[in-house]
Subunit: 364 residues, 3 copies
């Protein structure tokens, strides 16, 4: 605990933690001040993300980058899961689906691309474990196929599509969860040696003891989740004030803020030349949302939502997920990165963001 306080005293970024209680107080006192709540919740999420980043790195230092990355992805995506569950309970399936699709695309393109770019500014050429990257890209590709098929069948044959989407979605959800579990078995158990890092950076700050790190991970994740709820409630109204479309908000803003914690870790890894950590977090996080969060939401929707949710997405979102996954597959194939690879990946993301920003409100 002393270590934690010392850390906070020495890191000015963590002083922003003061906004965490401010958010909760403001929400109680002025629940209708959406734009204010929106700004406050973003300010509160940033330092929480930074703490999460340091805690995860401390655990990663003990367990190896790949496992650390997986752990980070799992905890980081609690945020997305909590957000989506809240929206699910309210029957806002559009928002749930937009935030799922957005989180996949944002993690695959923005988090990966920005990691390559930030790393590339500091190092001429960076290498990373391509076996690990390929596993994640493969899982992501599988999930993309699962999300693509119901939409493709529906477009090819609307009557048939409508009749089977709901039943098919449940089957696909079970399949994806099984694939996710087998992927964990593979990477953590039977073939864990393949996931060793290609090369380590120079180290960085002293890691926390494992107990403190784990406790911080858990506690801070909870706080992120609580603040994120305030954020989600306020973001739609705040977005209108700023003139953004709902599609852009769900797909880009929610995904960027929801993934802030993992991004802090991924970017910090890239700048320490530990690109394995960055790629592991970015692709691992994307495939976890696609293979675990999305199917869990489908299954849970039978119990908590007003009606069951299916896996059929807005066709434009399916195209974006498919192109994002294809980009990740092509880019991670070489196991090497430079700043320009980051630019290319970010540009694909920028094309999507630009399109969504100009989409009329009626769509998606």
């Amino acid at each position: 605990m002393n270590l934690l306080l010392k850390e906070i005293r020495h890191n000015p970024l963590l002083w922003l933690l003061v906004f965490v209680p401010v958010v909760f107080v403001t929400e109680k006192l002025k629940p209708e001040a959406h734009t204010l709540l929106f700004v406050l919740s973003v300010l509160a999420i940033v330092p929480l993300a930074a703490m999460l980043s340091h805690a995860t790195e401390s655990v990663a230092a003990k367990t190896g980058d790949a496992v650390g990355g997986l752990l980070n992805a799992t905890l980081g995506n609690l945020t997305e899961l909590v957000i989506a569950l809240t929206a699910l309970r309210a029957g806002q399936y559009m928002l749930v689906k937009a935030s799922i699709a957005g989180a996949i695309v944002t993690n695959t393109l923005f988090m990966l691309g920005a990691s390559f770019l930030l790393g590339g500014f500091k190092y001429h050429v960076q290498e990373y474990n391509r076996v690990s990257a390929r596993l994640q890209a493969g899982l992501l590709f599988l999930a993309t196929v699962a999300l693509l098929i119901p939409s493709a069948i529906s477009r090819a044959d609307p009557v048939a599509g409508a009749a089977i989407t709901q039943k098919l979605s449940v089957g696909l959800a079970v399949l994806l969860i099984v694939a996710y579990g087998l992927g964990m078995l593979f990477s953590l158990k039977t073939h864990r040696e393949l996931f060793a890092s290609a090369e380590h950076g120079e180290g960085g700050e002293a890691p926390w003891p494992i107990g403190l790190a784990l406790a911080t991970l858990a506690g801070v994740t909870l706080l992120v989740a609580l603040v994120s709820e305030v954020f989600v409630e306020s973001v739609q109204k705040a977005a209108e004030a700023f003139g953004m479309t709902p599609a852009f908000v769900g797909f880009i803003i929610v995904a960027l803020v929801g993934g802030a914690a993992e991004m802090a870790s991924a970017f910090s890894g890239a700048r320490k030349n530990r690109l394995d950590l960055s790629v592991g977090i970015a692709l691992g996080s994307a495939s976890q949302i696609a293979l675990f969060v999305a199917p869990v939401l489908v299954l849970v929707s039978y119990f908590i939502g007003p009606t069951p949710m299916d896996l059929q997405f807005w066709p434009g979102a399916v195209v974006m997920i498919f192109l994002g996954t294809l980009t990740a597959c092509l880019v991670t194939n070489s196991g090497r990165s430079t700043w320009f690879v980051g630019v290319l990946v970010l540009m694909v993301y920028a094309i999507f963001a630009m399109t969504l920003y100009q989409l009329p409100p009626r769509s998606q």
Copy 2:
């Protein structure tokens, strides 16, 4: 011949050969017992497939894995060709197309994935000749483009599509056969050294003499073809009794049973750490159906069918062929395999199978 009888006596699986005459007798006596005939024909195809497997391996032992694989694919696909020709003569173009699309997808995903999985259970990491795999994947990609374009044009512009599909299909058929011939020239003649196996397994059973092997290959292939015809006649009715949709039957069941012979060879190769043989059979078989069987059927349809057949497929089937080929291209890129790669490929297949199983009868 003695060697053959000895083989049969020592291998309990081959005792199932007794079902071959039983099928023919039952068909004569009770031609309307569809479910019985269905079960009997499957039981008869299994041992025939096993014999074909051993004969092919004997030839492969003399000629190198890649050539053996090609030979196997050529003979193995006689089954599919005979089935399709029968259906063609009856004007059942839906069934012909479903079985072509299904055979491509089943060979690309199920046969390849199950080979990786079975091999991966026995060996930690398996390596195979990626140059050979890339050639096959490249041929398959080419065929996919040829099957995709008529459908894509039709969807983009229905009037234009309908006007040109028939003429275009003949041109594409000729083009594909030329590409198939040039691919053989390349792999068997000008660059055959590229197709040498990456590494050989420990050997396996003693191979048959080449004469016996070739005679068995020819004779057993004929029997498989005859039994397959009974199978096809009975499968639709039997499927209804079991509650399966026509799409599922054409795409999955016909393709699985039709490819049983090659699967036995591919799986046996994988378990003997001769993954070159397995990958060669799986992708070679898929590309042979796409580049040779399908175009031959289009050309032959001008002579034996009631009306000519074109190359325009149900859009859902095109999407599945495209995704299957993309999976094969991405997966075979590394030349290495583990059990989880098999799981990923099989999962893509399972997604397709699940979708087709729930498709209403009206579709496809």
Copy 3:
């Protein structure tokens, strides 16, 4: 200048240069003789292309293959830019778009495939710098995403699509030009060592001095542009006389003749075992048209066209651009080539050409 005349005297191909003035004179005297003008202009472009090829190689000999390739692509595409600007001024957006799409596909598939094939006839296996090829393929992939998204959104949601296409196109155009500029910065400045050639051929003819080479490059490019204009004016009428569809003319004929200069260089490089040069020209030229020529035309259309032009293409063209780019990505992944790789790539092109040839005039 003496050197230039000596060159012309010794190279029979260059004697065709006599057709350059003949074209201009014929155009003045018989402007309605379309078929004659078409044939004359093709005959005049061939020797100009040959000279351009030699001049570019002379510069490339001084600057390294990758830079030479880039230079060649930049000057070679002046032709396409001039053609497109003329059509734009006349408001012929269909022709502009068809020639853009056609130039991308023709460079990606025909120029690349024929280089592989011609090189493969002379050399058993050829190697080239795959880092450079991957950069070009990556840029091309990015441009494909940018061209695909407006069309995909429009198909997914026609009302939304129509509303945003124009504004979106301007944004995408700016984005693509920025990406193109950053790509130049990367390949010519920060990471130029990655673009060194994998291996050099035996040399070839003596290079021209740099001054003469640069002057020839500039002058001949201008002549190509002037002759190309005559060619474009005559090609549509001549095509009708030969019975070709407008889609085929715009996509295939204009692109083939417009790219003749670069093709001469690319093919000559392939036959001298300098495949880096060939791949650099083919993919560099395709990505330059997608990332530079097309966006410039969109922006310029606000000043010189009757109405602004957008980036939404005929869906069939988008499918072809996407499949062409995917082919290039898959094929250049290994950095090795044989004649059969060339056959595969050319076959994909042949499928497209065959489809466009049979498309009814109404389409595209």
